[in-house]
């Protein structure tokens, strides 16, 4: 009996290439149009509805999460990409700092789509974009900058028991380059995180990288694998002055990612 043999034909290498170019473009078009509508019309409505600032923030974050989930669903079901998540149920705990690498344009969307209620440190350009500025401000997201204000705001969110997503690489990374983590995340972690949890994101083959136009998609379909790693113990870093400890923790982040993703 050879019932165990997998008889599904191997996926064709080109795997509906032109259809994927079209659905990728359509995905971004829908994201752009609906995103702007949400940012310009729906967010103000959510802000007018009664409730305290904290309630409104929760509301806006929920809306963003649902919108990102819809986008992720569209990209997945239309076949533009495929993605898998492992261990997401461990994300979104109180005071949890979630760090992730950032190899592609939409990994941040996939992550926010699956973490309930989390804050996020987002690039400053979002505050200069008319369709995004209201959403990111109302969601209480923190603009990224190597300043005391960013560090203090990020640390305050964690201290208040929220969970927070940070991308220590700062910007999308070019594959095969030496990994560089900004120490801001390590510094925020040591100030007030209760838990630090790494998320390893792997895009195979690499897609939607920095400096590559969206329509230059890889020939085989890109698969996004998001894997939640084991929590990083902060105890060994606690009894040193902050500048020393944050360097050591940052090195620990880099080692952890190198081990988990097999790159350096």
């Amino acid at each position: 009996m050879n019932a165990m043999v997998d008889r599904t034909p191997p996926r064709p290498i080109r795997d509906l290439y032109w259809l994927r170019v079209a659905t990728t473009g359509l995905g971004f078009l829908i994201f752009g149009v609906f995103g702007s509508l949400l940012g310009i019309l729906v967010v103000p409505l959510l802000l007018i509805l009664p409730g305290k600032a904290a309630t409104r923030r929760v509301r806006v974050r929920r809306m963003l999460r649902l919108a990102f989930r819809a986008f992720a669903g569209f990209m997945h079901h239309s076949g533009a990409i495929s993605y898998s998540m492992a261990g997401v149920e461990r994300l979104g705990r109180p005071g949890q700092l979630i760090i992730a690498n950032h190899p592609s344009l939409i990994d941040i969307v996939l992550l926010i789509a699956h973490v309930p209620g989390a804050g996020c440190v987002v690039k400053r350009a979002a505050w200069r974009n008319p369709s995004m500025v209201l959403a990111v401000s109302a969601a209480g997201y923190v603009p990224n900058a190597p300043t005391d204000r960013m560090i203090e705001r990020a640390a305050a969110l964690l201290a208040a028991g929220e969970s927070l997503i940070m991308f220590p690489e700062g910007t999308r990374t070019v594959p095969d380059h030496e990994r560089h983590f900004h120490r801001g995340a390590a510094s925020v972690a040591l100030r007030s995180a209760r838990i630090v949890t790494p998320v390893y994101i792997r895009v195979e083959p690499p897609a939607l990288m920095k400096g590559v136009p969206w329509y230059r998609i890889p020939v085989p379909r890109a698969h996004y694998a998001l894997r939640v790693g084991t929590d990083i113990d902060l105890a060994p870093f606690r009894d040193q002055p902050l500048p020393i400890a944050s360097r050591a923790l940052n090195d620990c982040f880099i080692r952890t990612y190198a081990q988990a993703t097999g790159t350096h």
């Binding site: 190597p146 005391d148 002055p241 902050l242 500048p243 020393i244």
Partner: protein
């Protein structure tokens, strides 16, 4: 009133403790970033420390122009001596 020499000595002690540096490496001409690898994130930790020591809050903006230990001494000297 603190004179600049006292400020320098106190700052050196702080830098030694916070960054685990050899005191001999810290002279007024020492460049914070090039020589000691003290970057913008460290500057935040340093400012918090100075805030606790002097009771005065230092704005990040005031540190923009700080390059050397002597710049830092001048900034802190101004800070502690202002009414």
């Amino acid at each position: 009133m603190h004179d600049k020499d006292t400020v320098f000595k106190e700052l050196r002690a702080t830098l030694v403790e916070l960054f685990e540096l050899d005191p001999a490496r810290i002279t007024p001409e020492t460049h914070l970033y090039d020589d000691l690898q003290i970057d913008s994130i460290d500057a935040i930790d340093l400012m918090e420390r100075l805030h606790r020591q002097t009771g005065r809050k230092v704005a990040t903006e005031r540190f923009r122009s700080v390059r050397t230990v002597s710049d830092l001494v001048d900034t802190v000297h101004q800070l502690v001596n202002q009414a």
